[in-house]
Symmetry: C2
Subunit: 216 residues, 2 copies
């Protein structure tokens, strides 16, 4: 059986790459032919969807192995006016040391943008980012997913800040520490973070890096 080409939508993957940079949730955008959008593109023949998403993220942004999760598939017929496109959307979480801005992004083909206050994006990429943000915030409440945004070693204050930024509300320091420590998903390293002009903090690390556990 060989259907005519017109009856087959083009299948793409698009990735929402999130990171906490500075004190904000940011998204890494890639310049596409018609404007700024999410890293992504056509799925290869015989290429797994996850593999395609990871490949496109790597090719277009240079980002190495990161946490990746399928989000939703967007297939409204006219989401691309030029031709039928169906996008399997993913989100990625990129660990960045707090105070750092992460690895420099290559050239002017990519740029970081605050998740609040994105520039106009191509197609329905703005909507995809919005769905991804909601999902990320929801998962904070019942999983250890925030650890995927942390560097290898981090302080409890930094972890709390990540939660606060994504949830958009302040959290109680003592309650936060109590909860996260009883979860036993992180462990103290014994090392201290030495900042400037203040008491040094214990450094922690994830007990199961790369894994996201459901809690409650």
């Amino acid at each position: 059986m060989n259907l005519p080409n017109a009856s087959l939508p083009t299948l793409t993957t698009d990735v929402v790459p999130f990171a906490i940079r500075g004190e904000r949730l940011e998204v890494l955008l890639a310049r596409q032919t018609t404007g700024w959008g999410l890293p992504g593109g056509p799925v290869g023949v015989d290429e797994d969807l996850d593999v395609a998403a990871r490949r496109q993220l790597a090719e277009q942004t240079g980002l190495p192995e990161v946490y990746l999760e399928q989000l939703y598939t967007f297939g409204r017929p006219n989401r691309d006016p030029a031709r039928r496109m169906v996008a399997v959307a993913y989100f990625a979480l990129i660990p960045i040391a707090s105070g750092s801005v992460g690895a420099p992004v290559a050239g002017d083909a990519v740029r970081w943008a605050a998740a609040d206050g994105l520039p106009p994006l191509i197609l329905d990429h703005g909507e995809i980012v919005a769905v991804a943000r909601r999902r990320l915030a929801a998962k904070l409440l019942y999983s250890t997913i925030a650890l995927q945004l942390m560097p290898e070693r981090f302080t409890l204050s930094e972890l709390q800040a990540v939660h606060e930024i994504i949830l958009g509300e302040p959290l109680d320091k003592r309650n936060f520490r109590k909860r996260v420590l009883t979860l036993e998903c992180i462990e103290a390293t014994g090392e201290l973070a030495r900042h400037s002009g203040r008491r040094p903090a214990q450094l922690y690390r994830a007990q199961h890096p790369g894994q996201v556990e459901l809690i409650r």
Copy 2:
């Protein structure tokens, strides 16, 4: 631009139609060319994914308007040995009056099967059903999705039984009633269900039929 056909995966939607029949969670299967599987098939040119899923469910099973939710997109390269197929999976919830078996299904092209103890299904449809079951059970705990499995009027005992069947564990009657009534998602109709040989029960109805609300 016209890419060669081989580079475009065939896109399908597949639907897991759930219902509570008798005392079990069941799935409505459709006979496909190579064996029993989920209702589904190719997405039409310029057809929305949700529309395609609903159309295929209606065409292959005769089921009318039901609750439908996108589940996950399955795209492992060799999930179909014959050709590259990517399936956007949905699940559907079909309300059936308890004690009834629902509308008769047409001919021998469809059959109900218990979600435990499905026959061997084509491709990865068994896996799709497994993912859908997990999602359904999870959503019971934080949404009013179970109402989509209930007929227009139902008793609290029937609603509790639906929860117990899907969760696979007994629930406390008084705690269940307390919780569901304080949610204010259902209301008493004033009518009574008259069974045989026992006290009649109040009939309730959903306050917002068709809508699923998040709770907690």
